[in-house]
């Protein structure tokens, strides 16, 4: 296909604004998938994605569309993740496109992620087609949304397409807009080959599969390709396009989007953002600058029973095949034994990995409270990075500590501005700016410690704003901060896995809150369990889990022994999910309790 008949586009939206449904309708309309084969929300293929209603791994689908001008076009739809944890992946998929559909819910209006994604798209010089979705809903207010578009972004309202992805209304309009307004790719077929990897996944039969956008030149089956970041070379065994199932092709030319199979053994060989070239005639300059995704949040993952340690390592190995952003290294804890310190892009990423480990690999895990990476400057002038409270050096050797800050953008209806300010203030936020997108909607900008963001910040924000607030944030840098280590003692012994790093001003209230919370989540045991919170040698809070007085089944259920057995087995199963620390049985949620403390 000649480049002039190719359009590469993506869909960007705030979470829940209907991106996946819109993608489904487009696939259906262009006949890429028939209604019959259409599982609800075709592009979200992982169970978890469907359950959570978010798209985790982006994919690319090739559609063919005969436009009203009579010509046939290839439309490559590149899906993007909708969550802030994955903004680097969003930016890579944007780089593979020339245009973007900006989907806005007709009843919700513009949200923080809409703007964040839009700015990213503008950074990549994409042609923006605003799509106002869900116009069939009774509370839809497209006129207000159009006004928001004009006022806040300066996009002329008459460029917006009104659709209902649910009913299919307006889908053809979108396709015509794509053909008419999104520029065709302008690659140089004669130049040395350059293709950008914007996604990859691990297939147990084929190895790592890279999804790439060819910018210049051509890649053919049999070519020896080279990764420009690592210099590693592989022979291309297969090329394909997704329609949405893999269809083999012999070559991919400029402007094409497809997948590339070249006996690469894991996804670390196919780093997102890397440039692929041909070894025999390599390009000199890579495409956009490649940077590895950097973990921002760390936590310990430990098997509840030590015997599962090897299984956990194997599972992490397997997950990493598909998730280059996941990092892990062995660590050990006095309380929990052997486990792994794992790094994640953010909390959602952490939760997804944890859930997949438990669900797909049937592991029983303890997750310790997530921590950010602190920069600890020692009295001797050297600096160390600490991502685990347990490895904070003794206070006497610390000169000062720096913690990561983010710039947070929060959008909220006018009436909740006060509530947002309260929450941000309470979380050590520094006010930067406030502007009104429309007379009713404000955008606030704060500098906030990342450590506060991962402490249930978004949930708190949501509950204080009746669910209206939307949040986006990006890393801004490190700042000096007065933080201290808070220790927890159970039965008089410190439990390293329950330690956390908190700001000095909040240490006592967090310590009290955590002790209270632990009292609620640790079940009563044969003996009473004292819980203490301490900073250094100073005890700042104490609670007691009272001894269990009674745990007995009165009846024998008329000889129904299997019923009794089942009841006891259920009880025993619950116990298995707990970790024995000395003589204290501690449930998994205890290790995350700090997140729920205000």
């Amino acid at each position: 296909m000649v480049q002039k008949n190719i359009r590469n586009f993506c869909i960007i939206a705030h979470i829940d604004h209907g991106k996946s449904t819109l993608a489904d309708r487009i696939l259906e309309y262009t006949g890429t998938v028939s209604k019959r084969e259409m599982a609800e929300q075709m592009l979200d293929s992982m169970d978890l994605e469907r359950e959570r209603g978010i798209t985790i791994k982006l994919k690319a689908v090739r559609l063919t569309y005969r436009a009203q001008d009579g010509e046939e076009y290839i439309l490559n739809l590149i899906d993007t993740p909708g969550h802030v944890d994955f903004s680097y992946e969003v930016s890579r998929s944007l780089a593979a496109c020339e245009g973007a559909l900006l989907v806005i819910d007709a009843s919700q209006g513009i949200e923080a992620q809409t703007l964040a994604n839009l700015y990213l798209a503008l950074d990549h010089d994409l042609e923006i087609i605003p799509v106002i979705n869900k116009i069939d809903l009774p509370n839809a207010d497209p006129v207000r949304v159009i006004k928001e578009l004009e006022d806040s972004i300066g996009i002329p309202g008459d460029e917006a397409v009104l659709v209902s992805a649910r009913t299919g209304q307006g889908i053809e309009d979108i396709l015509e807009h794509i053909v008419a307004r999104i520029p065709a790719p302008k690659g140089d077929i004669e130049a040395p080959t350059r293709a950008m990897i914007f996604d990859s996944h691990y297939d147990q039969y084929r190895g790592a599969v890279a999804y790439a956008r060819v910018v210049d030149g051509t890649i053919k089956v049999g070519d020896i390709i080279q990764m420009m970041s690592s210099g590693r070379k592989f022979e291309v065994s297969d090329l394909g396009v997704l329609r949405p199932n893999l269809v083999r092709v012999e070559s991919l030319g400029p402007g094409d989007v497809g997948c590339l199979i070249a006996s690469m053994k894991d996804v670390r060989d196919t780093r997102v953002g890397d440039t692929v070239t041909i070894a025999s005639r390599p390009a000199t300059e890579p495409l956009a600058g490649y940077r590895p995704a950097k973990p921002m949040v760390y936590c310990g993952l430990y098997p509840v029973v030590n015997e599962e340690y090897t299984a956990l390592r194997d599972a992490l190995d397997k997950l990493q095949l598909n998730d280059a952003a996941l990092t892990y290294e062995a660590e050990s804890s006095v309380a929990l034994g052997f486990g792994y310190r794992c790094g994640f892009l953010g909390l959602l990423h952490l939760e997804i990995v944890q859930e997949r480990l438990e669900r797909e690999f049937d592991l029983n895990l303890i997750t310790t409270a997530p921590s950010v990476v602190y920069q600890v400057v020692l009295t001797n002038g050297s600096m160390m990075e600490v991502d685990n409270p347990a490895s904070l050096p003794p206070i006497t050797s610390i000169d000062h500590i720096k913690e990561p800050f983010v710039t947070a953008s929060i959008m909220v209806p006018d009436e909740f501005v006060g509530a947002v300010m309260d929450v941000c203030q309470d979380r050590r936020g520094v006010f930067v700016n406030m502007e009104y997108i429309t007379p009713e909607r404000a955008r606030l900008e704060y500098h906030l410690p990342l450590a506060e963001i991962i402490m249930d910040f978004f949930d708190r924000l949501k509950s204080r704003t009746k669910g209206y607030a939307s949040l986006d944030y990006e890393f801004m840098g490190y700042r000096e901060s007065k933080v201290v280590k808070l220790d927890i003692l159970l039965n008089g012994s410190p439990v390293d896995a329950l330690s956390c790093i908190v700001h000095q001003d909040k240490a006592s209230s967090r310590g009290r809150g955590l002790a209270e919370k632990l009292k609620d989540v640790i079940p009563r045991q044969q003996f009473e369990v004292p819980i203490q919170a301490a900073i250094g040698n100073k005890i700042i809070a104490r609670e007691t889990v009272r001894a269990l007085r009674k745990d007995v089944l009165a009846k024998c259920y008329g000889g129904d022994i299997s019923r009794k057995r089942k009841l006891l087995e259920k009880q025993k199963e619950g116990k298995k999910r707990m970790k024995s620390l000395g003589s204290v049985e501690v449930p998994q949620e205890a290790f995350m309790a700090i997140l729920k403390v205000d």
């Binding site: 044969q526 009674k550 009165a554 009846k555 024998c556 008329g558 000889g559 087995e569 025993k572």
Partner: protein, 380 residues
């Protein structure tokens, strides 16, 4: 070995109870249902007669539901039928459950003549407000009359079922209940801590915050009160919830605690025959229909492996205060429980939940109130 018969009929459902029973309608309709049900029971008994073989049966327990709702003559005829057709010993223990309000001296006499020699009365409490709160239909003053009627008929082995931890019940209420029960001079007392069973109205109300029941700590106090008072009154505490005068242990319930085989008959009943554990579907109409065709209607049935049976023998055996004798277990299974459960037993010993003395492993006073942790230690 014994036979359990389930009579799943009640005049009214008590709101804490999750045993299988249906509320009977008017007398005429119930009479025909009862006839059909007893007929099906006979067919089921004949079915198991073949499978059971000749092993002697020492006990028969008729439970419910409310067995005393059945016309005494019909129930008596059924008991005689069972004694005729199944290999019962000459003088089996024959127990039946009864509601205090549904017993007359004449009825008791008929049953006594059919062999009933032990009656368990569902008394629960001696305060009418408490009885009302749990949906019982009898009044506390009726209990004395029932006991008299039984004695008049010659049935002197009498158990009273009592419950502690009822909505609004205080420890004083419970002490009064125990005193009133002792005054009637029963041979046996079953004292159950209330369990909030899933799906019962009471559980729904408690979960909704409409009704409050004493918590575990209060139940523990009531239980300790029970042990103390009944011991002082000369009762032997022989199983977690059961107390008796010397020589009056429930032979049928001992069968369960020794994990022996038994034939279970009736809708919703469980049985254990040649290591097949079965539970009949809790469906009165279905029960009658399938036995018309002469086939069982199980909700669940599975053969228990010998390993599983050993676990279960320990699980139920440890409910007995005398414990489980090492020699008895070894004679039965040709292996010592020390060999099978050493790690678990040692942990229990270390936690002071059990003790091992003169060849018997038994719960300690601490272990008694935490018995689930003892029993579950034997589930591999």
């Amino acid at each position: 070995m014994g036979v359990y018969v389930h009579i799943p009929f009640c005049a009214q459902k008590c709101n804490y109870c999750d045993f299988h029973s249906v509320v009977v309608g008017d007398e005429e309709r119930f009479s025909s249902v009862a006839d059909n049900y007893l007929l099906s029971l006979r067919q089921e008994a004949l079915y198991y007669r073949k499978i059971w073989g000749q092993e002697p049966l020492d006990t028969l327990f008729i439970g419910g539901g409310t067995p005393s709702l059945l016309p005494p003559d019909k129930l008596a005829a059924f008991i005689l039928f069972l004694r005729e057709e199944l290999p019962f010993v000459k003088h089996p223990e024959i127990s039946m459950e009864a509601n205090p309000q549904s017993l007359t001296a004449e009825g008791a006499k008929i049953l006594k003549d059919a062999g009933v020699n032990r009656v368990s009365l569902g008394v629960q409490a001696f305060q009418d407000d408490l009885l009302l709160a749990i949906g019982r239909i009898h009044r506390s003053e009726e209990v004395g009359g029932s006991v008299l009627a039984l004695r008049e008929a010659g049935i002197t082995n009498i158990n009273l079922d009592l419950i502690f931890g009822l909505p609004g019940q205080t420890n004083e209420d419970w002490v009064k209940t125990l005193e009133a029960a002792l005054e009637l001079e029963p041979t046996h007392l079953s004292c159950y801590g209330l369990i909030l069973e899933e799906g019962t109205p009471l559980t729904t109300w408690v979960n909704a915050g409409l009704v409050e029941v004493p918590g575990d700590d209060q139940q523990a106090v009531m239980y300790e009160t029970t042990c103390r008072m009944l011991k002082a009154a000369g009762f032997e505490h022989y199983e977690i919830s059961n107390f008796c005068l010397p020589g009056f242990r429930s032979q049928h319930n001992l069968l369960y605690w020794h994990n022996r085989s038994f034939i279970g008959l009736g809708s919703g009943a469980t049985g254990y025959i040649q290591r097949l554990r079965y539970r009949n579907a809790a469906d009165v109409d279905g029960f009658m229909e399938t036995w018309n065709e002469g086939i069982p209607y199980y909700e669940e049935s599975a053969t228990v492996s010998i390993e599983q049976e050993m676990d279960e023998t320990m699980m139920v055996g440890m409910r007995l205060l005398q414990g489980v004798e090492e020699e008895w277990f070894r004679n039965r299974y040709q292996v010592s429980y020390w060999e099978l459960y050493r790690g678990a037993i040692e942990e229990l010993l270390q936690r002071d939940l059990v003790e091992y003395k003169e060849g018997w492993l038994r719960v300690t006073p601490t272990g008694l109130l935490l018995e689930n942790q003892v029993s579950s230690a034997f589930l591999r």
